[in-house]
């Protein structure tokens, strides 16, 4: 061992027992380069630190959303078919007050993204890092601005000719319908309390039970019991417990169905999952695109269906099942697409 490395080890051991390590104690790790930092440090804070420069307008956002987002989120961000809607449930009154009336009155029909979020920075940050779901981090800053401008217009926060940019986004944040709807006055933040520059009340719980041991109440009030549909909705509970030991699972499915165990997943289904197809297709039922068995039913008598469908899967397209497009699946190998289409046409299971 060289004298140099000995001294490092000695220093490290010393530091281990002390409360803090000195800078670069271990001589491991190296300085991050500016380009590396730019590549990964993409977060945007509520004070807009980290916000990239750029701009986009409502119309551009509308077009981008139709192209890249509507297949999952619905044409106006309001679709309930697949996911909770992004937009809706806020009023002009809310924009004025900064509180969503539906929450105050307790009659909100659905908690859309825009009813909850207090900070537009959150949505910018999230779309930039995570959307579209199957191709995250593919949007340029101008595109994120444009999509946000479109959202803000749908929520009637900005007019149709609005251009959102790094210059005016902080102003827009001051119009968010639920901007005054958040509180940090609770005991569930594990750091310093607000009184010492942190968050919350310093860990004070909001409920207080006492550990009574005897004759704690006169009667037992049952608030709710398991509804019958819920007893059977999770499959046969007998199959979810050991067949030996102190207890058994209750048989909740009658007859043969109870005996038939879930078959092992086919190799093709694994491939379809890995290729992202099952994000949009159910086996038998529609999610975003048609159920794969529905596809089989339609094309089963067409000899050239396999080639046509393989080409369609690769290039994407719309119109055969509705106006929602399937995006191109360029990330999937040709032979895998062939395998998948063959599997679909033979009644995917």
């Amino acid at each position: 061992m060289s004298r140099f490395s000995k001294s490092i080890v000695a220093a490290a051991l010393l530091a281990l027992t002390a409360s803090a390590f000195a800078f670069d104690t271990f001589k491991l790790g190296r300085q991050a380069t500016p380009a590396e930092l730019a590549a990964w440090d993409i977060d945007v804070r509520p004070d807009f630190k980290g916000l990239p420069k750029g701009s986009g307008n409502v119309q551009q956002g509308n077009d981008l959303f139709e192209e890249k987002c509507a297949s999952c989120h619905g044409s106006f961000g309001e679709s309930n078919e697949v996911f909770t809607p992004l937009i809706g449930g806020t009023t002009h009154e809310d924009i004025k007050n900064g509180r969503v009336g539906g929450f105050v009155k307790g009659d909100i029909p659905q908690r859309t993204t825009f009813t909850k979020v207090a900070t537009i920075s959150t949505i910018f940050d999230y779309i930039q890092r995570a959307m579209p779901w199957t191709a995250p981090k593919s949007l340029k800053p101008d595109e994120v601005y444009a999509i946000l401008a479109y959202f803000l217009n749908l929520a009637e926060i900005v007019p149709a000719d609005f251009v959102l940019s790094d210059k005016n986004i902080a102003e827009v944040q001051k119009m968010m319908p639920n901007r005054n709807g958040m509180t940090t006055n609770h005991g569930m933040w594990p750091g310093a309390p607000a009184a010492r520059g942190g968050i919350g009340n310093g860990g004070k719980p909001d409920v207080k039970n006492v550990a009574c041991m005897k004759d704690c109440k006169k009667e037992v009030r049952i608030g709710s019991v398991l509804p019958n549909y819920a007893r059977t909705a999770h499959g046969n509970l007998e199959d979810q417990n050991r067949s030996f030991g102190p207890v058994r699972g209750v048989r909740t499915v009658d007859g043969d169905a109870a005996v038939a165990r879930a078959p092992a997943q086919s190799a093709e289904l694994t491939l379809a999952n890995a290729s992202g197809c099952m994000a949009c297709h159910g086996l038998s039922s529609k999610i975003v695109g048609p159920g794969l068995n529905e596809v089989q039913a339609r094309y089963k008598d067409q000899a050239d269906a396999a080639d046509r469908l393989a080409a369609k899967v690769k290039a994407g397209g719309q119109g055969a099942w509705g106006s929602i497009p399937m995006p191109p699946n360029g990330h999937v190998k040709d032979e895998d697409i062939k395998t998948l289409v063959k599997w679909i046409l033979s009644g995917a299971k």
Partner: protein, 449 residues
């Protein structure tokens, strides 16, 4: 109803030997329900062809030597990576039908109803992904540490796995619970078993480097940087804010090990953050970046989700601690007691504020309580196993457990929790769970106010 003929090891006696004449008549008339009450051995006999069959000499499973006693077994390393017995196929991670729309942004629940002790087998650890999971190549994985302001660190750094795994590690056992665990049950009973009510819960031994070590190696300025942002390397690049206090006290770990091996891909291989006592969403998987900063970040999963709606319409933001909670795992919902008599009632307790000090169990819906035995080791922010004796007399009963942690906090009832938080908060439901046992021995999920 369970097929009781499958209850092994009991000698079958002819029913007429122990049923009264009246009872035999009742059986003949097709009324078997009373059998479930206390004559379950008779149930076994009845389920067999009605010709009474007595095993006079003894248990055939003893008298006839089985193949494993009379033949050669398999050689070593038949399974280079060992697998559970083929008889254990029932206990699996499962999804709750209809809960989510796509498997890539979903949950699979841990089968708590069949687990022992406090360690969750790695293959049964619950899953929650927001944008699917990947098997990340560790040779291409990096951890970057930087500041929201360059002044907060002497130097932003990058570390490879090779380097991280040379640093002085710690190994600690901690529970991880999703903030939405038991969230389906805020308003009413919704799901049948403990797997679905409480299964977004697991506990493992994690090994890794305290984040404190790394931040100090980068020359952090604790005076200025009071918050940490953790970020994942997956498509969602999940981000969450963590208080610097937890880092400074050495609790937060940048972990690569889980239960003695590397993390499983579904749990963040090769690197995840461990934030003891805090909800699972903060335990960022596939951890690629730590940023130190001077304010919380209001990321999507702390400004749109993981916010708790209160009755006054305000959302509580940055609710992170998992408060003291417990649940009986056996007997529990969807299970069936085989007969009257002695049972060990068992469950787990945990608290995001420290150690469990006591668990009480009630068999009458919370009128009277008895203190359960805690199994060691009892550790900080870890699952703690409790056991208590019970002799079931065949009468209806309601089983509950109530945990107390070292701060003196007592797990609340549904009534108490709802009085403060209403029923719409989705997150952080730590109410006392009740399991109702009826005369047939079936256990089901009920809520006691």
């Amino acid at each position: 109803m369970v097929d009781l003929s499958k209850k092994p090891g009991h000698l079958r006696r002819a029913p007429e030997n122990f049923l009264s004449e009246e009872q035999v008549k009742a059986v003949g008339a097709g009324r078997r329900d009373f059998l479930r009450k206390s004559f379950l051995a008779a149930g076994a006999a009845m389920a067999a062809p009605l010709v009474a069959r007595a095993d006079a000499a003894g248990d055939p499973d003893i008298l006839n030597l089985p193949p494993w006693t009379t033949s050669l077994g398999l050689p070593v390393a038949t399974n280079p990576y060992g697998q559970p017995s083929k008889y254990e196929s029932q206990l699996l991670r499962r999804e709750s039908p209809g809960l989510t729309r796509v498997g890539g942004a979903s949950v699979s629940f841990c089968p708590l109803q069949g687990l022992f002790g406090i360690i969750t087998p790695s293959g049964l650890h619950f899953e929650r992904h927001h944008q699917g999971w990947h098997d990340v190549d560790p040779s291409k994985h990096r951890l970057m540490i930087n500041g929201s302001d360059p002044a907060f660190l002497k130097q932003p750094k990058v570390y490879t796995m090779d380097q991280l795994m040379r640093l002085p590690p710690v190994s600690r056992i901690h529970f991880i619970e999703c903030g939405a665990n038991t969230g389906l049950e805020w308003g009413n009973v919704a799901v049948p078993t403990v797997q679905y009510t409480h299964g977004m819960l697991s506990c493992s031994e994690f090994t890794g480097v305290p984040l404190k070590t790394l931040l100090e190696d980068c020359g952090v300025d604790y005076k200025k940087a009071r918050y940490v942002l953790a970020e994942g390397a997956d498509g969602s690049s999940m981000t969450r804010t963590i208080p610097m206090e937890m880092v400074e006290n050495g609790e937060v770990i940048v972990a690569y090990g889980m239960n003695g091996e590397m993390l499983r891909p579904e749990n963040g291989y090769p690197l995840r953050l461990v934030v003891p006592g805090v909800q699972g969403v903060s335990w960022v998987k596939w951890l690629r970046r730590i940023e130190v900063g001077d304010m919380p970040y209001a990321t999507k999963d702390e400004a749109v989700h993981y916010i708790d709606l209160m009755p006054d319409g305000m959302h509580r933001q940055y609710t992170s601690i998992q408060e003291c909670k417990s649940v009986i795992t056996s007997p529990s919902g969807g299970q069936q007691l085989l007969e009257t008599g002695f049972y060990n009632v068992t469950g787990v307790a945990w608290s995001g504020r420290g150690k469990i000090t006591r668990v009480d169990v009630s068999f009458d819906g919370g009128i009277n309580w008895k203190t359960a035995r805690l199994e060691g080791p009892i550790q900080n922010k870890a699952l703690t196993r409790f056991n208590i004796d019970w002799v079931w007399d065949g009468k209806p009963a309601i089983l509950q457990s109530r945990a107390i942690d070292e701060t003196g906090y007592v797990q609340p009832s549904y009534g108490q929790l709802r009085a403060v938080r209403g029923t719409k908060s989705i997150y952080h439901n730590n109410a006392i769970q009740s399991w109702k046992v009826v005369e047939s021995g079936e256990v089901s999920n009920v809520q006691v106010l």
